[in-house]
Structures are given as structure tokens and as C-alpha cells.
């Protein structure tokens, strides 16, 4: 294995994140090519966590932008502090400055409220990690705006001028595929599909988060989750559900996953009415058997 990649894996391991060789390679590539990384995958497989750990690994700030339908430039890039501007105009009414000087003053840095994207670009000391979470939820217009940002790393503010990044941020975009992203955006990014982890990896993750959990219990949980994922549920359980479940069972002092403890902790895994119904009608015991057999 290449030296750089294995050092990534080790460092991530120390920070409590189990990363496989493929993702480690891509993260290394991302930091050396300075290209954004697009992570796609099912909900709850730890896409967002990658950004958190990367920031910790690089010892830099994490700036997060949560996308939603109707997200616009004002809440993503910048906004003027109107109240402050108004007050300032009032205060300056009596002094002798010329109109242009006054105008320049109220459209100065003091009155600019940076939002995540501007913050990510104007960092002065070190490249931050910029997480653009669930980009598929934002509108296409916003996606188009991002294209400009991600290729030039600069933002123009009409009253103020252009701000160019002194330190390029490391950008991670995540998507749940509720909408197909444009080819243009895809081509500007490295791409990685985050899949559900295999049994070994998931077991490792559980142990990482709950070091004193019973080995057998952990194995049972991971196997059962795997069975549930193949059941075509409305909301398939992700890694976070596995961890929640392990934590609940652990907190209840259970040593074994049986029908009774399943019923007690069902809520941390099955998160919709129809899923609960489906599993109950299929029979919890058959599912546990399937997992252990």
C-alpha cells in the first residue's frame, strides 16, 4: 500500500473513523489535487462524518452548509447587516463626509455578514474543510451557482468587489440521490459511492464507538441489521441506526439479542410505522434466526 494512503487510514483510525483503502486513496487525492469530492450513498452511511474527520485530521476548521429547497445566495454566501447600515447612516447624517465616502463606509467589511460559502473562501490562515451537505436538496439554480465557485474559488459582491480565496477550501459535497445532479457539477468533482459497510467493517465501527460492548452481541446486531437491509424497508437502517441500536442494547445491559430485547429497542432501528408492521408480521424470531443461521 502506498505510504500516504496508509498514513491516512491510521490517522482516521486514531480519530475514531474506520475508513477503507478506496476512500482513503480518494481523500488523499482530493487533498493533493485540490479538487472537490462528491460523496453519494444511502442515508446514514457516514458521508457527513467523512468531512468531520477530515477536518480533524487536517487540524482545520469545518464549515458546513446544509442545503434545502429554496436555499439562496443570501443564506449561503453573504448578507448585508441592514440594521447596522441604517444606524450608521443616521449617525453619519451630521458629519461632513461626502456621499461617496459615506457609501463606501456602509458597504464595508464591517457590515458584511459572511455565510458559509464566503466564510470558506475568506479564511486567512489555513484551508478549511467546506461541507456542502445534501446538495441534491438544493435547487438547480443554486447548483449552477456552485459551479462558478468550485472552479474559480472566488465570489463577487457587486457593492464590494471580488473576493478570491487565499487558501482554497477542501470541498466535500454529499448527496442522497433524491435528484440527479448535473453532469457539469459531477465533472468538477472526484466521485465516490459510499456503500453500506461489509460485516467486518461494520463490526469494527461498532467496537470503535462502544469499546466495551460484548463481542457476541455486537456480532448479532450487525448480522441482524444486514438482514434488515435486505428486507426492502421504507427506511433502510444505516450505520447510525446500528450504533444507536448497539448503544440502546448496551445501556439496557443486554448480553444477547432476542425477541424480547428486540421489541424493547425496535424504535432505534425501524423508523416508520409500516416498517415496524412489516417486520412484526414477518416475525422477529424468523429474522433473528436468519441472521444467526
Amino acid at each position: 500500500m502506498t505510504k500516504e494512503v496508509s498514513s491516512f487510514i491510521e490517522s482516521f483510525d486514531r480519530l475514531g473513523y474506520v475508513v477503507d483503502e478506496e476512500l482513503a486513496t480518494i481523500l488523499f487525492l482530493m487533498t493533493s489535487l485540490q479538487k472537490p469530492l462528491l460523496l453519494e450513498g444511502h442515508p446514514g452511511v457516514g458521508k457527513t462524518e467523512v468531512a468531520n474527520i477530515l477536518a480533524a485530521h487536517l487540524d482545520t476548521e469545518l464549515i458546513r452548509l446544509q442545503c434545502y429547497e429554496g436555499l439562496d445566495v443570501h443564506s449561503a454566501v453573504y448578507e448585508w447587516n441592514y440594521q447596522k447600515q441604517l444606524l450608521s447612516i443616521k449617525i453619519q447624517e451630521s458629519n461632513q463626509k461626502t456621499e461617496t465616502e459615506k457609501e463606501k463606509h456602509i458597504f464595508g467589511v464591517d457590515f458584511l455578514m459572511p455565510r458559509p460559502l464566503l466564510k470558506a473562501i475568506s479564511g486567512s490562515s489555513k484551508s478549511p474543510v467546506l461541507l456542502i451537505d445534501e446538495i441534491d436538496r438544493a435547487d438547480e439554480e443554486f447548483e449552477a451557482f456552485l459551479l462558478e465557485l468550485l472552479s474559480a474559488y472566488q465570489i463577487s459582491i457587486p457593492e464590494f468587489g471580488t473576493i478570491k480565496a487565499a487558501h482554497r477550501p477542501f470541498v466535500i459535497l454529499t448527496s442522497n440521490r433524491t435528484r440527479e445532479l448535473s453532469d457539469a457539477l459531477r465533472r468538477r468533482c472526484l466521485y465516490h459511492w459510499v456503500d453500506y459497510p461489509d460485516l467486518d467493517k461494520e463490526l469494527k465501527i461498532v467496537h470503535k464507538h462502544l469499546p466495551d460492548i460484548d463481542q457476541k452481541l455486537a456480532e448479532q446486531i450487525v448480522r441482524t441489521i444486514n438482514v434488515l437491509r435486505n428486507k426492502n424497508l421504507e427506511k433502510s437502517p444505516g450505520i447510525s441506526e446500528t450504533l444507536d441500536w448497539a448503544m440502546s442494547l448496551h445501556a439496557l445491559g443486554k448480553k444477547k439479542l432476542d425477541v424480547e430485547s428486540f421489541a424493547l429497542t425496535q424504535g432505534s432501528v425501524l423508523k416508520s410505522f409500516s416498517d415496524n408492521q412489516k417486520i412484526n408480521s414477518e416475525g422477529v424470531s424468523t429474522i433473528l434466526e436468519e441472521a444467526n443461521g
Binding site: M1, T2, E4, V5, E21, E22, T25, I26, F28, L29, S32, L33, K35, L37, L38, E40, Y82, Q85, L86, R177, T178, R179, D183, R186, R187, C189, L190, Y191, H192, W193, N232, E234, S274
Partner: protein
Amino acid sequence: MNANYQSYETVTQSILGFAAYAREHELQVGVREAQEALTIASLGLMGDKEIFRYALKSVFCSCAENANLFDQLFADYWGLPKASVTSRITMKNQLNAQKQMQRSVVLLGKGENKEGKEEEAKNVSGANAAEQLRKTDFSKLSEMDSEYLEKLATDLWKQMSKRLKKKLKNSTTKGRIDLRQTIRNNIGSGGAMLELKRKYKKPSKNRLIILLDVSGSMDKYSFFLLRFILALRTHFKRIDAYIFSTTLIRITDILHIRELESVLRVLSQHADNWSSGTKIGACLKHFNQQFAKRALSGKNMTIVLSDGLDTGEPEVLATELHKIKLRTRRLIWLNPLKGMPGYQPRTRGMMAALPEIDHFMPAHNVESLLQLETFLSNV
């Protein structure tokens, strides 16, 4: 084009060769990607073959669907020269894939009567093929055209859904004035209220209920109509969809799967329902008994997609349809047969249904489905 790295002399050449090879196989690899591949090599990631593959994959693949193709190409190109074995495997895979495709195609009744269709297909090649295709009856498509039409149709329907969404957003200009927002927005003009901001109640989204006939007589259309439903699904969050032939199945839960192929796979588990006879009346009765109470509450619009060729009692159809009519704001019946020149609704089923229907429209080609827009914009 050389399909193996050993036919090149230098590392740079073989990497560029791979980029060209990948491009030839329809991965989106441009100059920039090729350059990045070279950078990857210069970063020393070529030492480990797996790592090299991971790295190139992240650059060459821009979506999950391409991953398998890439792995295959990578193995072919950078593997030992016994590439013929792997390529045979690819061939086999392709054959399998084709077979599977055909199976689902047969399931949906697209794959029969090839010769007849090819003749029809000649009409639609040429400069304005796209324009022509929009007007071509779904049942008269050749295999090749149908692939192209699928793409075209999905695009058009998506655009339509998007337009509809816009309409919903901007249509309301009434409402009371929101002083706070108005002041905030007019600071730029020195406090003069040039532009008034208003606050209005969000227009409540209405529900769209779709009943799709998948019986044998609808075979040639149901595939495209299902696509249409999927396209609507991307922008209408409150769609409630059902398929019926001799029995009725609610497919709303299945529709949240994005890919059509997966939807078809799930639907094929209910395969006995496809391509069988039609009992529209009985199915609507089932719908009324089990689902209507919930589905038809509040504001809604109901669309029935069927050719009206019913083997059940027409009276049942009429009464059940009437029940739906009472609870829905608008009842639209889309009939693919209506696109045929000289079609008259003379079948017993259709005759019984007509008095209850608000709008009776054709649904035989892309164009006719696009005409639905006017109705959908009111939903």
C-alpha cells in the same frame, strides 16, 4: 485503439491510452480527466494496482452506474495480455444484460413484431426526428427509437414538472403586506417603499391520484405511462399511484425508488397482474373500499389511464366511477386508443364511463401527455 497498456512505450503514453480507451467506451473522460490521471501517477499512486484503480475511478467515474464498467475496462487494459478472457466475460455479461432487458421488455409487451415496426420506424429518422418522435404512437415504435424516445420523453416530462413547480411558486401575488420584509428589502432605495413584499398563505398542495391500467391490451403503452408517472413523481410529492388489471395494487410505496429498472423489478414480483385481462369495475370497487377514504380526502385530482376495454360488468364500472367522481375535484380519463384516427368510444366499458368523466383525452404519444400540463397546473 490499443486495448492494453503493453502496446505503449512510456508510462505517460499508456495512461493517455487508457483515457482514450475509457472515452471510447463512453465514460466521460476529457482532457482534464486525462491530465489528472497523469497527476495521479506522478503522486506515486501507481505502485499499488488497487490504489491506482481507486484513484482513477474517482476521476473517471462520475456516477455509481459507471463503476462496474470502469472496473471492467481497468481490468482489461491494465491486466495481463490474456485480456481475451475478461473481454469474453464482458460479452457474456452484456448478453445477460440484454436478455434481462428483453425479458422485461417482453413483460411490458414492447418486444414483438419486429418487422412491422421497423417499417414504421423509417418515417421517424431524419433531421426533425425528435419532433416526429414526440408525435409517434407508443405502440408503433421500433426498438431503437423507443430507447431514444425514452430519453426524450423523460427530459420533456421533467421540464414540464419543473414548469409546473414554478407556476405553483409564483402564482400568488395577493396577500397582506409584510412591513418588516418591505423595509428590509427597500433599504437599497433609501427607505422609499418601491417594492412591496407580501405575505401569503402557502398554496396547499393537492394530491394527484393515478390509476394505471396494465392489462394485456395496454401492454404497448403501460411502460411509457409508468415512465410518465415516474417523471411526475420527481416534482409532485403527493402522488398516489395504483396499477390494476384483474386486481388493484397500490404502487405509491414503490415509486420512491428512483430508477425505473428497480421499479420494474419490484413490480415484476406482482407479475401475475401484468398483461392479464381487465376488470376495471371490480378494481375501482377495491379502490373505493380500501383506499379511497384516505386517498380522496381533501383537494385532489384523479387520472385514470386505461383503454376502457373491460371484461367486467359496465354497470359496476359506472357506479364505482361515480363514487370516485363525488369525492374528487376533477376526474380525467386518458385513453391511448383515442389517438387513433376515427376512434369512437363504443366499447361497453368506455360508454359506461363517459358520463362520469370530466375530461376525456388521448395518451398515445409524448405530445398528448404534455397537454396534460394545463390540468396539472391546477393541482
